[in-house]
Symmetry: C2
Subunit: 213 residues, 2 copies
Amino acid sequence: MRLYSYWRSTAAYRVRIALNMKGIAYETVPVDLVADGGRQHAPDYVALNPAHLVPTLILDDGTPLTQSLAICEYLDITNPEPPLLPSDPVQRAHVKAAALVVAADIHPVNNLRVVQHLGKTFGATPEDKAEWMRHWMRTGFDALQQMVRDDTPFAFGDMPGFSDICLVAQYYNARRWDLDLTPYARLTEIEQNCLALPAFDAARPENQPDAQI
Amino acid sequence: MRLYSYWRSTAAYRVRIALNMKGIAYETVPVDLVADGGRQHAPDYVALNPAHLVPTLILDDGTPLTQSLAICEYLDITNPEPPLLPSDPVQRAHVKAAALVVAADIHPVNNLRVVQHLGKTFGATPEDKAEWMRHWMRTGFDALQQMVRDDTPFAFGDMPGFSDICLVAQYYNARRWDLDLTPYARLTEIEQNCLALPAFDAARPENQPDAQI
């Protein structure tokens, strides 16, 4: 498989973690979201991903899959071990809901193109943009911390899953934009337990071939 | 079951469609998102939905489920007919990806609390807010129209499913905010085919007990 990825994209980060957890080898194809006005807008990439976003996963038969949650779920169905979601429908809904607090309520509102549009439309300064991002992370994390369990190493049990993947990726942005994490001791504990695992560590932005650090 | 809903919430609209498609009777509990600064912030509601958002579905045993996509998926697993998602993993990923273009890329960026925050933070006028919403709908619909099939009554086949549900709900907002739908003839065709079905028609905002029209 080939993963079109950008080291700092938290959506791509989610898929990298899922691929690593499933033990699936893949080739990284970097898509630089900032060079040349954004290489996600290049016609050959848009042919694979009409939304002009990363990630895109190319299956071995050439089929492109887009949207990180749809990709992670595909990987979970086709490679059931270790499971990323519980089989019980109610527990599964709780894990999915926690994942969506990050993947729907926080991340899209803070996406690069959204903060770029804030600058273009409202003259938002770099500090305005950072505070915008922190605002939505606080809003989401306040909810998320009440949704996860408080008696398990990971968000919902003894193994990490869908919601842990989303949490860890979002935490990269939280640290990048200097969010005060003091109120989120439980979320930080989950992040640290995840990052101690090789599957998460290898997926970290700074460990990618296109990292610029 | 009880559904905490607001007539104009497109996330609640999705769940109403899914419940109707599955033939599940439910009681609507209106949550007025605009009265009194927003009744989604009332402590008794936040105890059910820590994210301060609608919808929340209360199961018969009292369990609250949140996040519309997680709820729709719960309903699909526990009530398999008619299916909202294909069983083939690749086809399922395509349907999910199209749904997420609406549910992640468009809707959260246009959510009521986000446009309210634009006003508070950047002094956005009502027209600024409407153009913000139209911008993200155009961006998402441009992608979505390339992702759906063009040879079927519904987005991916002869029966509506997950992505049709998200499309129809978002189209309510598109019409509300006067988006020019001329470029989206295929999406409009899918919307019209869906709204001709009783399950979709009964879920329309204007057919809800709390509609203010």
